[in-house]
């Protein structure tokens, strides 16, 4: 009889079918892994409480046999299946996407300390693992769905985007980020457009690297175990084979080359580019090429992935040498996977500490430095905050906060809490709005703008000392709609060439973080009336031809990663 537990373990493809075991008894077989996800009784699909997999192909108008129902305690049907079966059986594909979407959701919920909602109204995210023929995969908010394409590769084999770990996590992250910060989907600075892609790439890559099997694969590229060695494997690895340089140039790049070239069409080449984009502040500040959202997102990815490498290599230095110049391969793998996990949690947790609209990379840096210190004050072991700070600066990204350590400044202390109720403040937008209303002056609330509290979310995380860290995160949004000719009145410059009767929508507002006593800890704001930032943003949007574009179209965004000329015409268009 199987024991009932909270978690279930399912087999997934570790990266994608092109990444195989390099050595050992499984040499040449697809690298797979087992992930733990919340246990639940699954209806056919699989269809659980948050995810519904529907295997229907709109291109050929064909439905495929459903993954059969599975009780919460039942084992994995594909635990020991052969490579050929897991490739040709669409029901395994369904399991693969279900497991990875749920794994990503659970990871976000754990990091943020609460249940998360999707960005659309429903409880279920629909996942179509074989939605259409085409080299694309995307999140479609209007369909409440993730759609994965399949296509024929150059050598005639079928390539399924739903078997690619990073593609699945990337798309799931779009859906989760949409639920957390819906205003990030709107036109803003080049940074905001880039952030959705860069953040989804980072979560995807770190999710892949947090699997020990993948950390081992990186290491195998950096320092291969030959068959000879495998037979008398001492379990040791030369220390110089795991320097930052070796991990970067042979480890990650080796893995990047192994990733199916054709899938690069769908995922871009985030991994390769993050390795090749060496630190320099010029991309971020000066280069017109890096003002295009895709390229700009790569700067963000490079900063985070280089942080990962530096922490990993730094930890290896501290591992006790087993023999002079050698360290234990197993320990190095464990450290790699653990660092990916911790960094990933910090990156996700930071979202609560970002402004609710118009995010720039410097805002994210201040957010991650602050939120990580709140939840994990002691950082001697990994020095994660120091590494993040230093690496981001090496790419020209400085904290948005002017404080010495780059963290957000505490909220103003002179605030009125008269007649606001702690209980209501943890859940009711109207109560939070009352607090904002009676502190309008201290909180720089623009009296002319339309105001709305978009969300109030109580969170509970376990901090390093074992106690619960309770916070409430609220988003306050402000909008002003006016004609271009009226901008001058607010001190905002009208973009060159914008007709004076052009309708302009200014957005701004704040994220408010309350402590467990309902006191405001942080007020992370970019004001709707901030003339300097708004002038720059309007000019950018005007130049990029994105001014009145609607919320992000992920389908097109992802397709343009695959454009022939590798660059889009933004900045040159009218």
């Amino acid at each position: 009889m199987t024991k009932e537990t909270d978690v279930r373990t399912l087999r997934i493809i570790a990266q994608d079918p092109s990444v195989k075991h390099l050595s050992g008894e499984n040499a040449g077989r697809i690298l797979t892994a087992h992930v733990q996800i919340p246990a639940e009784d699954l209806r056919p699909g699989p269809w659980g409480y948050r995810v519904q997999v529907i295997d229907f192909d709109a291109s050929s108008q064909t439905a495929f046999k459903s993954y059969r129902s599975l009780s919460a305690t039942a084992g994995d049907r594909y635990r020991n299946s052969s490579d050929s079966l897991i490739l040709k059986d669409p029901r395994f594909h369904c399991q693969n996407v279900y497991a990875l979407v749920m794994h990503t959701l659970a990871r976000f919920e754990r990091a943020l300390g609460r249940r998360l909602r999707w960005g659309f109204g429903s409880h279920h995210l629909i996942v179509l693992p074989h939605a259409f023929r085409g080299a694309n995969a995307y999140y479609s908010p209007r369909d409440h769905a993730l759609l994965f394409g399949y296509f024929t590769g150059a050598t005639g084999e079928q390539i399924y985007t739903c078997l690619s770990h990073d593609v699945i996590v990337h798309e799931t992250t779009h859906a989760l980020l949409h639920g957390l910060r819906e205003r990030f989907n709107y036109p803003s600075s080049p940074d905001q457009a880039a952030f959705h892609e860069g953040f989804a790439d980072v979560v995807a890559l770190l999710s892949v690297f947090s699997l020990p099997a993948v950390a081992a694969a990186i290491l195998n590229h950096a320092s291969p175990i030959s068959n000879q060695d495998a037979e008398n494997d001492t379990g040791l690895i030369q220390e110089r084979a795991v320097s930052v340089k070796a991990l970067r140039s042979s480890g990650l790049l080796g893995l990047a080359s192994e990733l199916g070239g054709e899938l690069a069409a769908v995922r871009g080449n985030a991994l390769r580019r993050s390795v090749e984009l060496r630190p320099s502040p010029t991309y971020y500040t000066d280069s017109p090429e890096f003002r295009q959202p895709h390229r700009r997102g790569e700067i963000f990815v490079a900063a985070v992935m280089n942080t990962f490498l530096e922490i990993w290599a730094g930890r290896i230095e501290t591992l006790r040498e087993v023999r002079s110049g050698f360290v234990s391969r197993e320990h190095v793998i464990e450290e790699g996977a653990e660092i990916a996990e911790i960094l990933l949690t910090a990156i996700i947790r930071a979202i609560d500490y970002t402004p609710q609209t118009h995010i720039q990379f410097g805002d994210f840096l201040s957010a991650v430095l602050t939120s990580d210190r709140e939840a994990r004050p002691r950082d001697e072991k990994y020095q994660l905050r120091e590494h993040l700070h230093r690496t981001f600066v090496s790419y020209g990204i400085h904290p948005a906060s002017k404080s010495e350590n780059g963290e957000w400044e505490p909220a103003p202390s002179e605030l009125s809490y008269r007649n606001v109720h702690l209980d209501s403040m943890r859940s009711a937008p109207d109560e939070v709005f009352r607090f904002i209303w009676q502190n309008a002056g201290a909180l720089n609330v623009n009296g002319e703008a339309y105001s709305r509290v978009l969300s109030v979310r109580p969170t509970r995380r376990i901090s390093q000392d074992g106690f619960a860290l309770e916070e409430t995160v609220a988003e306050h949004h402000q909008t002003i709609i006016l004609k271009a000719r009226e901008l001058k009145r607010l001190g905002i410059e009208k973009p060159t060439g914008m007709p004076s009767n052009f309708e302009v929508r200014l957005r701004g507002g704040a994220t408010l973080i309350f402590d467990e006593f309902g006191r405001l800890k942080y007020h992370i704001h970019n004001d709707v009336g901030d003339a300097t930032r708004q002038s720059r943003r309007l000019q950018d949007l005007w130049n990029l031809g994105m001014f009145n574009s609607q919320a992000r179209d992920f389908s097109r965004m992802h397709r343009s990663r695959f454009s022939m000329f590798g660059q889009d015409g933004r900045g040159e268009e009218w």
């Binding site: 699909g45 495929f64 040709k88 939605a131 369909d143 079928q158 040159e572």
Partner: protein
């Protein structure tokens, strides 16, 4: 023969399309160059036989003889006027009777290019893969037409209909161009190649299209190998009607009940996929446009067909290493507005380079920037997503900073806009 004494630029009323006649007037003779002749939509007030009328006007304006004919690219709105008709009584028959000495087309139209491994000098393997892909793309178009016929009410399919119409090859026009090229001389050009034009006192530069190899040389980062890219896209386009990706034993008789609503919702997907393919093809073909620059004394004429940003990037990338190209672009005095005034065919970098912008208002000497726009509002794109053609922001800039000659401003009684330039 000395340099021309004047140059006449004529833009004929073809609605949504292009048709320009450049007449280089010498002391004792004239040489006439026809650039494009096609239309995919005429104003409601136009005559039913508008293209015949235009052909006859061209014949009269060039005195019965063309020195050269340029078909910038194969889109219908640039070449269907060359169609001689089933009984050789169409507008193309009149043009053929003008016996052009030279027919200029982009390298992509060279009938030898896909077969002959050596081909035109700069055309390599990538370019050939690209050409094969274009042909395969075209095979996907009948499926598009079928979808269009099924439902013309949907805005998505209407867009597909328009793009499909412009992209479906006009075989008779294509054949006629080959025939005219054989009678005179056919020249297939790419960036940096000779134009073959014989116009004394006129310096002609070919600025586009780049070959695929040239384009790739400026692309620092590529996600995939270009040959693979094209075969991938083409292969998947050709099978867009689609075979299911799994063996029949994994197929279900019907979708499970709870999935029905999403399946109905996704009925837009095949059309969207197809539209995407046609859109790629449309952009790709625009970027095969011949870009010509004529210099006569102080006058510099730029005729870029429908070249879009992607093609322009190659020329613009050359301007820093090659100041003379930059200077020629800065000195442009006559600009044929790219792609009927669409949002991405007049790169802002190029626009900012043209130094005579606004000169007509400042009274700076005699030179000013003239622009020629051949277009028809309401035919293509949408103001909802800022894709309308002509793009209103570009149109505003053209009105403000150039002397604009637009076929849209022509009264129904007039067949052409024309202006005389003195070198």
């Amino acid at each position: 023969m000395a340099a021309p004494t004047e140059i006449i630029v004529r833009s004929y009323q073809v609605g949504f399309g292009d048709c320009f006649l450049l007449s280089f007037v010498y002391r004792t003779t004239s040489r006439h160059v026809l650039i494009d002749f096609g239309s995919t939509g005429l104003p409601a007030t136009a005559a039913k036989d508008q293209l015949m009328r235009v052909a006859r006007a061209i014949r009269d304006d060039c005195g019965g003889k063309l020195h050269a004919l340029i078909a910038t690219h194969r889109h219908a709105d640039h070449i269907n006027g060359f169609d001689p008709g089933e009984h050789n009584d169409g507008s193309g028959a009149i043009i053929a009777s003008l016996e052009p000495d030279l027919v200029i087309q982009p390298w992509t139209e060279d009938p030898k290019a896909p077969k002959n491994a050596k081909g035109p000098t700069a055309v390599g393997a990538h370019s050939k893969a690209f050409l094969r892909a274009i042909n395969e793309f075209e095979q996907a178009l009948p499926a598009a037409s079928a979808l269009m016929r099924e439902n013309r009410d949907s805005p998505l399919l209407n867009q597909l209909a328009f793009l499909g119409e412009a992209n479906i090859s006009n075989h008779r026009a294509v054949k006629q161009l080959i025939k005219m090229g054989k009678r005179g001389k056919a020249q297939f050009v790419h960036y940096g190649s000779a134009s073959g034009l014989n116009l004394p006192g006129v310096r002609v530069s070919v600025l586009g299209p780049p070959t695929i190899e040239q384009s790739l040389s400026i692309t620092r980062q590529r996600s995939v190998d270009p040959e693979e890219f094209w075969s991938l896209v083409a292969g998947n386009a050709a099978t867009a009607s689609s075979v299911p990706p799994f063996s029949p034993r994994y197929r279900a008789a019907r979708a499970p009940g709870p999935a029905r609503w999403i399946i109905e919702r996704l009925s837009y997907l095949p059309a969207e996929q197809l539209l995407e393919i046609v859109r790629i093809l449309d952009g790709v073909l625009n970027n095969t446009s011949v870009i010509l620059l004529f210099e006569v004394g102080k006058q510099v004429f730029l005729f870029p067909g429908d070249a879009q940003v992607e093609s322009w990037k190659y020329v613009l990338s050359k301007t820093s290493a090659n100041p003379s190209i930059r200077k020629r672009l800065e000195d442009v005095t006559v600009y044929k507005v790219g792609h009927h005034g669409s949002l991405n065919a007049t790169p802002k970098t190029l626009w900012r380079m043209m130094r005579y912008r606004g000169a007509q208002r400042k009274g700076k000497g005699e030179l000013a920037l003239h622009s020629f726009l051949s277009t028809m509002e309401g035919k293509h794109g949408s103001t909802d997503n800022n894709t309308e053609v002509p793009r209103r922001t570009l149109l505003a800039a053209l009105k403000l900073e150039t002397i604009l000659h637009s076929t849209e401003s022509l009264p129904p009684s007039k067949l052409k806009v024309e202006h005389v330039f003195v070198p």
